[in-house]
């Protein structure tokens, strides 16, 4: 008797604590339930590195974290998955375009000077590059004007189809059949850039020589420049590099991820000492966003290994809210039916079971808030399934209880034997379930993992509630003589005549 009351007090305390936990911490909803974007990045091995190890993955993550902070997205999370993947979640963010672009590029910055004796070739390539860039830019849809400021009309530039074909042929390129003008221009630009980079000497200054990067608007027009500040060593190198080419007409190339993004000549006035002061400006005619993104990338440092965006999911908030509302109402409707079923079939213990199962649901939510578990659709599915298992545990116990009553045992004895006999099958069922969960959790991917976590929590709690809550509540009720009637457990015709 005292023992039952002790257990009852414990269960009551747990229930109150669980309620408080859920109320104060709240539940974390996954992106599929609240809307947002998720990007999966694959780290690719490059150069001497054949396979990506944990250390390199962490190094990549560190750089990406700096870039994400630079972008200023609230509440984003970046997690490593497996040996060579990173998952970035951007709650509430509908348009991951920019994040994908900023995160996906290596941002390996190099300053290289043109090799002597390549002046003629460069003189052919540079105008072609300018022209192709200008035509491509004029084909892009202009961004929406901000604050009513109309953007200036793009300059009228054109490259006739014949000239384009001639230029492509001149570079020895074959155009795939059916490609659009934009595709051909891209092809041309890629090839020209490759040729330009091939004319450069070795890397003189790299991203590691930078202290910081910034941006500033050009004095005329809407374009932006990206400013760089070098370390003392980097500043010396920069001075030496500019001194070497000053007044020669050869260009200083700024190469980002193997693409030449800016080519500049250095005037003869720098012949004596080079450009000193440890600072430089990239005049790449960037838009405000492009300049900002490049600044973020340069500040964050270059990635030790290239990454590729392999998965991208984004879901609107109303779709997420709709999902959770319908799933929730479905689960509740099903559970209401289960409750009705239990009370009809098992009578008094059925009611006890419904109470115990309600506590079970509350404990589950408390565990989700405590661990914390991010609830996703598969997670909800795992929860619904674990409710099925919890109900099964009660069914097993009550069937045993009925059997004992039918064979003529007393009520109290039947309850105890029912619990004792049902235990082994409940235990085996739950253990096999937990074994599956362990395998799914340690070997499965994101979706499957979420399912395994909620199912495992559900199974562990179900062992507790079926064997403790249901039992304690039932025993407590049996201390009231008015409730100690076998007909509250079984229809009278099923009872052995001796008892009835």
């Amino acid at each position: 008797m005292a023992r039952q009351q002790g257990w009852f007090a414990l269960i009551l305390a747990l229930a109150i604590a669980a309620g408080a936990l859920v109320a104060s911490f709240g539940l974390q909803l996954g992106l599929d339930l609240r809307g947002g974007s998720q990007l999966t990045l694959q780290v690719l091995p490059a150069g001497a590195i054949r396979s990506v190890d944990h250390e390199q993955l962490e190094a990549v993550k560190e750089v990406l974290e700096r870039r994400i902070n630079g972008l200023g997205v609230a509440e984003s999370t970046l997690q490593t998955v497996g040996n060579d993947q990173l998952v970035l979640q951007l709650p509430g963010e509908q348009d991951p375009t920019r994040a994908a672009k900023v995160l996906g590029s290596t941002a390996l910055l190099e300053f290289r000077s043109q090799r002597p004796g390549t002046e003629r070739e460069m003189a052919n390539l540079l105008p072609l590059k300018r022209q192709a860039e200008a035509v491509l830019a004029s084909r892009q849809p202009r961004p929406q004007p901000v604050n009513g400021q109309a953007s200036p009309p793009s300059p009228k530039v054109d490259l006739s189809a014949e000239d384009l074909a001639k230029a492509l042929r001149g570079l020895g390129l074959t155009v795939p059949a059916g490609s659009s003008e934009a595709d051909q221009l891209k092809l041309l630009l890629d090839a020209v850039n490759q040729r330009i980079v091939a004319l450069y000497g070795p890397t003189a200054i790299a991203g590691k020589d930078l202290v910081t990067a910034g941006r500033q608007q050009q004095a005329t027009g809407n374009n932006w420049d990206v400013t760089l500040k070098f370390t003392p060593q980097g500043g010396d190198n920069f001075a030496a590099l500019t001194q070497a080419i000053a007044g020669t007409g050869r260009v200083l190339g700024i190469v980002l991820d193997g693409r030449s993004i800016s080519e500049a000549t250095v005037g003869p006035e720098f012949k004596s000492a080079g450009i000193t002061g440890g600072a430089a400006t990239i005049t790449g005619n960037f838009s405000a966003d492009e300049a900002h993104d490049l600044e973020v990338q340069l500040r964050g440092g270059s990635l030790p290994l290239p990454v590729k965006v392999i998965e991208q999911r984004s879901i609107g908030p109303s779709l997420g809210a709709e999902n959770i509302r319908t799933s929730l109402s479905a689960a509740l409707a099903g559970l209401a039916l289960v409750a009705v079923f239990m009370v009809v079939v098992y009578r008094l213990p059925g009611m006890v079971a419904v109470l115990a199962l309600s506590l079970y649901a509350l404990f589950n939510l408390a565990m989700y808030a405590l661990i914390p578990v991010t609830l996703t659709l598969p997670g909800i599915a795992g929860f619904i399934l674990s409710v099925g298992m919890a109900v099964d545990a009660n069914v097993l116990i009550f069937e045993r209880l009925k059997e004992e009553l039918r064979s003529g045992n007393t009520l109290i004895r039947s309850i105890d034997t029912g619990f004792a006999l049902a235990f082994s099958s409940i235990f085996d069922g739950h253990v096999t379930g937990l074994i599956s969960c362990a395998a799914l959790f340690f070997l499965g991917t994101g979706l499957v993992k979420g399912f395994a976590v909620t199912l495992a929590i559900g199974l562990l709690l179900s062992l507790f509630t079926a064997l403790t809550c249901t039992r304690t509540l039932l025993r407590l009720l049996m201390t009231y003589p008015a409730l100690r009637r076998p007909t509250y457990f079984l229809p009278a015709r099923q009872l052995p005549s001796a008892v009835a």
């Binding site: 998965e311 039916l337 659709l377 599956s436 969960c437 499965g444 199912l455």
Partner: protein
């Protein structure tokens, strides 16, 4: 307690029927998967969805109530064919003419399946489509892009985790019961999983239903449920050996199945109730998931009542 109880329901009297039912079901499932494999548009035992094939799926909701103009899939397809997308470095603009378009809710929302797009390209596609078919509600938009490598990775990790969990469960049953029990539990499990796959192969053939990663989760769940269900009968047989002593195996099984029959049916029913709730009221995203689970759980209780126990005497005799 030494008197052998006489069961009301003797499962072994009906075992031929149970076996025939299962064999017919398995053959139908295999035929369905074979037909899927031979189908030139599927070429796989089940019709793979976006999660396994890779590509971009765009879900759009039109921002209009009843004023929405009528929309047909061929109209949208024609509009898609003329859309030009900004090219990505190193690759050509994808060709959208082969896209799959699905209209939902009487043309109010639509789903597009196109080759894998970079996020800028999908943005451009939505913007250009919006110009054609009228305003879209940004809150109802979902864009998923999955690289082709991710699908095979998902498949591999699902299959590996499934096999490992099978092996671990078999080990557990071998230790707590015996090897024959473990073998039969796995046989039933394979039966249930195959049955569910077969049903979805037919659904894929006849109704174009695709399997996604949630289907993999459903299969794993069916497997776990199947074992739990079977173990309850095993537990009863083990217990009877202690209480009523050694009986011939056939009788042993009859008594155990009879005693656990109510429980098995009730449990299947109570598990199916929330799933039926999901089928009826749940969002479209969970419909086929709930369907796979319902089929698997129904078949699971069939095999744990009719298959595992009746095969036990046959195998134990040897």
């Amino acid at each position: 307690m030494t008197v052998a109880p006489s069961p009301r329901f003797r499962i072994n009297r009906h075992r031929r029927l149970a076996w025939i039912g299962s064999i017919v079901g398995i053959v139908l499932s295999l035929v369905g998967m074979a037909l899927c494999w031979l189908n030139p548009t599927i070429r796989a035992p089940l019709k793979p969805g976006l999660d396994f094939t890779g590509g971009t799926q765009i879900q759009l909701e039109r921002a209009c109530d009843n004023s929405c103009g009528g929309l047909t899939t061929s109209q949208v397809q024609q509009q898609l064919a003329v859309i030009s997308l900004p090219p990505e470095p190193g690759s050509r603009s994808p060709n959208l003419s082969g896209s799959v378009v699905q209209l939902l809710d009487g043309g109010r929302s639509l789903t597009l399946r196109v080759p894998a797009l970079a996020s800028e390209q999908s943005k451009a596609l939505v913007a250009q489509l919006e110009a054609q078919i009228g305003p879209l509600s940004p809150a109802g938009t979902a864009i998923n892009t999955i690289g082709p490598t991710l699908g095979s990775q998902l498949l591999r990790s699902s299959v590996i985790s499934l096999l490992v969990s099978f092996a671990a469960i078999a080990l557990y049953i071998t230790f707590t019961y015996s090897g024959v029990f473990a073998f039969l539990a796995l046989l039933c499990l394979a039966h249930d999983v195959l049955f569910t796959c077969g049903a979805f192969a037919w659904l894929g053939l006849l109704a174009g239903v695709e399997v996604d990663s949630l289907f993999a989760v459903a299969l794993i769940t069916v497997a776990g449920y199947s074992v739990t269900d079977t173990v309850v009968v095993y537990d009863r047989i083990r217990e009877q050996k202690k209480t009523i002593g050694d009986l011939p195996m056939v009788q042993q099984v009859d008594v155990a199945v009879d005693a656990t029959l109510t429980r098995s049916l009730y449990t299947s029913l109570t598990t199916l109730l929330p799933l039926v709730g999901l089928l009826l009221f749940g969002g479209s995203s969970l419909f086929w998931f709930a369907m796979a689970l319902s089929i698997g759980i129904a078949v699971g209780s069939w095999s744990s009542i009719g298959l595992a126990p009746t095969l036990l005497p046959v195998l134990s005799r040897r």
